[in-house]
Each structure stands twice: as structure tokens, then as C-alpha cells.
Symmetry: C2
Subunit: 390 residues, 2 copies
């Protein structure tokens, strides 16, 4: 286990009707006015936004709003939100929706307090030194942004999708009602399952030694997702399954499962390039790429992939040698994603062979020209994984 | 899963030499003067206290100190600490040691801001409405007080041992260096193992339905403790084993593993009476009582004890019917505690048959006259468990 600092100050209010407690909980934080950020209107149609506003009104918390966030959210709305938040002198920014609405809220909250162009923080040119408080009302179990220190935005000019991590991104308060996720289409629920599993994979496949406890926590959460995911698709109003998924999605990305482990975000980096260029859903791209990343990295640490196969994917521990069990685990993961109706190839997003060089160029390489740490990927590795996934 | 509010704002600085960062981290909180609370001098002899003070000095944080906390800490020193903290106008109280030092620090921190007798908060006569910030430097993996919302004090007059739970008890900052626990005697390490396992048991044996995810987290942490505990006793300087135990002890009692579950603190309540009257170590008493509590409660939910046996204690799932597996799990727990050198009977604390009625009287019953929720214990149950454990 590596040395670590862990600080997760988000207050979670979790359960049926959590959103109805928004006003009361925001009031406790001493916040008098918020900017509500949401997407393309599903929270309007479902009545969630109205309930949140009614709750704020009842508690005397003033609010203004900014809708129209797209999946793979764009920088343009962030600039607009920063201006609005300044003009309206809001004291906090609240994302109502899934990761896109929340990540946009985070970018606005950072941008209001950053003297330059907010994109500097995402382009790696500057680190946030302050931010408005962030609040979330979650309607989609996937991105984990309701408690993570990260947010991801796509620049409209360059079409580069980039993330920033800072403690100022941690929401102060997240209101989580699993029942709000019942009505999502199954493909969105499946994307969410793939996204939260990927968040755990980025932590699970590590070079850090002596990580027994966090291995156990990662594996137990993955097993829960593998059980709850299909159930949530099959039983659209199972509170138990949707609650397990919602809380698992939070734990998957707020470091509860993983303090003291070196992480590897190469697959996320590769997925961002595809999402930005082809408008592909983040979770769906991860479902395509991850089995190929695993196959490509298998020989780096066969024992870890074997452990994954046996402990997470249910491969029989007596079924063969380490490598064959490891490969069976990867196949089982593919089969699982397939069973949820997730795509299996990049072609399904209209990616073609001719696009692969460009995608390879656009991955967020380190200064050393590599991605990730488990076995760092160079450009040839990235291209090979994209090609295998085509 | 029940509805829940989860808020764990402790900042953890974990790793070798964590205590040397005390001053820097306290400074970041804007705290200018602290009261250092510690026990009977082991932190003086080991040099830990000197390193903490040097770190505070280097950061310009002033400090005063109060030593002499006993195991099963007493109210007298709390009153003294409250007066000292007020006279010295400290801005925070820092426990340097294990649960006893930290719980005393917590009681002082609450007491300074409570207008009446601090014991009211422990006697259930009042709820804390404020408290000084609490900081901990942990030297013993056991009580989980470095992040929990609880503290436990024994009243010197009545010899009643009572706890209070409040969000004001959550430390703001905990500095955790596993190497500080290397030098503890094995019986203290074993007591710590039993204590942290008991904290998980109090959450694991629940009537709440649909708790798949938190069952997984509880079970994985218990398995880790069962592996790391004997290793820490056998290999006195294994960083890996001591680090797993230290972090497991924190997770065991700060609700990370268990949001949305009804908890049952009956065994803790029964243990407090024995500790207060017989000066017995908390963890050791729990190791004696828990297998008997399990046997007494077995028929209330055989399936849960069966799951515990298979998932945690390694009982072969094909080895018999549910009840025989469940009983094998309880026997395996006894065997495990025994292997750590923990006591097996209350007689080992000099408890005699004639004491059992008195102990039964002193358990912290609810207004309904019962202990716990899993299957609430009445006085006859409590007496029966004590007698079985004699």
C-alpha cells in the first residue's frame, strides 16, 4: 500500500425522495443562491427539476438555471455558465442530472473563481486554487461525479476531451434517489454499468504491492455491479438493484475503494478521443476498449488478471493454468458486456481504419509520451488496441 | 438498503512518518493552538509525542498537553481537560494514542462547548450542539475512533461506561503511520483485531434487506483482518499487515462499509459493563462475548450466520445444512480468536457467577428495556449470554 491522503467531504443524502430534501440541506450549508445546471430536458419532463426548485423555494434558497448540457459536455456552455454565475452572484453551482450536467457544473464552479480561461485547468496549464461549492442531484448511476475530484469537458474548438482533478471538484452535498434512475433507457443503464466498472478497473490493475484490503473492496463492488446491473435492466423498478448501482457508482470513483494504489487511466484517455470525435457514449466506448486493453496488457501481470478472472468474473480457479484462466476472465467480461446489449467494436460508432491514426494522435499522453502506469502505453500500443477493437 | 445520510469529513494522512506532517496539516486547518491528550507515557517513551510536538513547533502551532489517560478512560481526566482547554484557550484537541486517548480528546472537545456537565452527553440527557475540532495521531489499530462519530467514557462515580454519538465527534484530521503500531505487545494487537471485527459484526448482523454491496464490503474487510491479524502478530514489522489492519480498523467504524443498514450494538453494550467493573480490555471482552452472542442469536436468521460462515470464516459451502455451517462458522471464529491468544471466558477477567446479575443490571438498555435490534435482547437474554461466556 502506498502512502496516501484521503479526504472525501461530500455529504450524501441517499434514499427515496432525496431530491425533496435539497432546500433543507443546501440551507444547512449557509448557501443562499444556486445556479441549477441540467441537460436536454429529461429532468424537466420527469418533474425532478420542479421538485428540486420547490424544495429550494420552501427553504428560501434562490436559484437561476442553465439547461442544454449535452452528453460529452462542451466548453461553450461552460463559458456561458461562468458569465451567468458571476452576473447572478450565485454562491454554489448545482448539477441536476448525470455526469455531463455535474461535470459542467464543476467546470463553471472552478471557472468562476479562476482569473483566466477556465480551459487552462483542463489543458493542464494551471491548477485550480479555489472554486464555488458544488452540489449534485443525481439522476444517472455511471460517472461517479457526485463525489469524485474530477470533471471532463470537450473543447468545442479543438474537439479535445480533457479532464481536471482537484479537491475543489469534490461536491459538498449530493442528493441521491435511486428511483430517479428507473426510467432511463436500458442502453443508458448499461453504459453506466460499464463506466463504473471501468472506474474500478483503472484502480484495480495496479503495480502497487500489498493491496489486499483495497483488492477486496474493489472485487466486492465489481461483483455487486455484475449482479445488480442485469437486474436493473430486467426489473426497471427494482429499488434494490438501482440503489446498489447508484452507491457502487459513487464508491467506484471517489477513492473509497482504492486509497494507496497507483492508478492507470489509459483506457479512459483512449475512450475520450473516440467520444469527442464520434459522439459516442463514454461507457459504451469503455465497454469496447477494456477487454482489448486487458488482452494487450495481460503478460505484464498474468497473476493479477487471473485473480480478476477468479474473484470477479467467476472463472473456476481449478480450470487451467494462470494464463488460460486470465483469458477466460477477459472473455467472461466481454460476454457480460454483450449480455447488457453494449457494443463490441469501434465500428459500431462509425470509426473506420482511416480514423485510427487521428484518434491515436488525440489521446492525452504524458510529457513522456505515454498513457497510464500499469504498463505505460506508447503510440504504437494505443494504435494496436484501437485496431484490435475496430 | 435503508435511506441514509453519510458524511465522513475526516482528512486522512496515511503512511510512513505521517506524524511528522502534523504541524503542516494542522496549520492548513487554520488552527493555532492545540491540547495534546495522551496516555500513560508510551508515546513519550517511543518518541512519537516529541515528533508531533517538533512538527507543531516547526509549523508555529502552539500546544499544551494532558497525559495520563487510562484504558477504559475515566471522566475525571475529562473534567480536568475541559478546564485546561478553556484556560489555555486551545482551538482544537488532539488525541495521540489509541482509542482511549482519542475518546478522552473527543469528550474534552465536546465538553468545552457544552454549557452543562459533559456527562449529560454520555448519559443520554443531552445531544452535543457544538464541539472543538478534533485531531488524532493514531498509535493503535483497534477502536476506529480516528474517524468514527462515537466516543466512550467511564464515569468514575457510578463506574458506568457510556458512549455518545454525534457528528461533532468526527475528527477533522487523522495522521496514521502503521509503523507506530509495530512495537505494541501481541495481546494489544490481538485485542485490536477483535475490536475492529466486532465493529463490523455490529453492522453485519442486521435485519435490513437488500444489502448486497455493504455485505460484500464488510466481508472483504473481515477477510483482510483475518489474514493480516495473525501476520502482524507473527511479523512484528510487516508494514503490509500493520497497514491493512490500521486502515481496516478505520473503515470498520466510520460507516464506510455499512451505510443504509440497521446496526446492533448489544454486544458492545454488554462488553462495556465488564470492562468498567473488571478493568478488562475492550477487545478481549468482545472476543469472549461475540461467539456466545452469535450462538444465542443463531435461530433468528440462520441464513445470515451461514453466509458469515462461508464468506468470512471459510466454511465449506457444501459441508452440510445451513445451521451446521452456521455453527461451524461460530466455532471457526472462536478458533481464530484463540489462535491470537485472546481469552475465551469471562472467568479470565475474574468475573464470577455472583457478578452476573450486577453486570446484567448495568448494560445500557433502551427505554424499552432492551439492547440492540437484530433480535433485541432483554435482561434474561443478557444474563444467559454472560452465563454461557463465564
Amino acid at each position: 500500500m502506498d502512502a496516501f491522503v484521503f479526504h472525501n467531504p461530500t455529504r450524501f443524502v441517499f434514499g427515496p425522495d432525496a431530491e425533496a430534501r435539497t432546500g433543507e440541506e443546501v440551507s444547512k450549508l449557509g448557501i443562499g443562491k444556486v445556479l441549477l445546471v441540467y441537460g436536454q430536458g429529461s429532468v424537466v419532463r420527469s418533474g425532478v427539476l420542479a421538485r428540486v426548485k420547490a424544495s429550494l423555494d420552501a427553504a428560501g434558497v434562490r436559484h437561476c438555471e442553465l439547461g442544454g448540457v449535452l452528453p460529452n459536455p462542451l466548453s461553450g456552455l461552460v463559458y456561458q455558465g461562468i458569465e451567468q454565475a458571476k452576473a447572478e452572484q450565485v454562491e454554489a453551482v448545482m448539477g441536476v442530472g448525470g455526469g455531463s450536467a455535474i461535470d459542467t457544473a464543476k467546470a463553471i464552479a472552478l471557472g468562476v473563481r479562476y482569473p483566466g480561461d477556465f480551459w487552462d485547468l483542463y489543458a493542464g496549464k494551471a491548477q485550480a486554487a479555489d472554486g464555488l461549492p458544488i452540489i449534485t442531484v443525481l439522476t444517472l448511476s455511471a460517472a461517479g461525479s457526485e463525489s469524485s475530484n474530477s470533471s471532463v469537458i470537450t473543447n468545442e474548438q479543438s474537439m479535445l476531451k480533457r479532464g481536471t482533478r482537484t479537491e475543489f471538484n469534490r461536491p459538498r452535498l449530493s442528493l441521491m434517489n435511486p428511483a430517479l434512475t428507473y426510467s432511463l433507457p436500458n442502453n443508458q443503464k448499461a453504459n453506466g454499468v460499464a463506466d463504473m466498472m471501468a472506474h474500478i478497473f483503472e484502480r484495480y490493475f495496479t503495480n502497487t504491492k500489498d493491496v489486499t484490503l483495497s483488492d477486496e473492496l474493489c472485487e466486492g463492488t465489481l461483483r455487486t455491479i455484475i449482479t445488480a446491473g442485469p437486474k436493473a435492466l430486467a426489473e426497471g423498478e427494482s429499488y434494490a438493484a438501482h440503489a446498489d448501482l447508484m452507491w457502487a457508482g459513487t464508491l467506484a470513483h471517489n477513492d473509497t475503494l482504492s486509497p494507496g494504489r497507483q492508478q492507470d487511466w489509459s483506457c479512459h484517455g483512449m475512450s475520450h478521443a473516440v467520444s469527442a470525435r464520434f459522439g459516442a457514449a463514454h461507457g459504451a466506448v469503455l465497454a469496447v476498449l477494456y477487454p482489448h486493453w486487458m488482452q494487450h496488457q495481460l503478460d505484464h501481470d498474468v497473476a493479477r488478471f487471473e485473480r480478476f478472472a477468479v474473484q470477479v468474473m467467476g472463472v473456476d480457479d481449478t480450470s487451467g493454468d494462470a494464463k488460460s484462466k486470465a483469458e477466460a476472465g477477459i472473455r467472461a467480461l466481454r460476454t457480460f458486456f454483450n449480455s447488457l446489449g453494449l457494443p463490441q467494436t469501434l465500428s459500431e460508432f462509425n470509426v473506420q481504419e482511416k480514423d485510427l491514426e487521428k484518434l491515436t494522435d488525440e489521446a492525452p499522453y504524458s510529457a513522456q509520451g505515454t498513457l497510464g502506469f500499469f504498463r505505460p502505453l506508447d503510440r504504437a500500443d494505443v494504435l494496436a488496441i484501437y485496431r484490435a477493437a475496430l
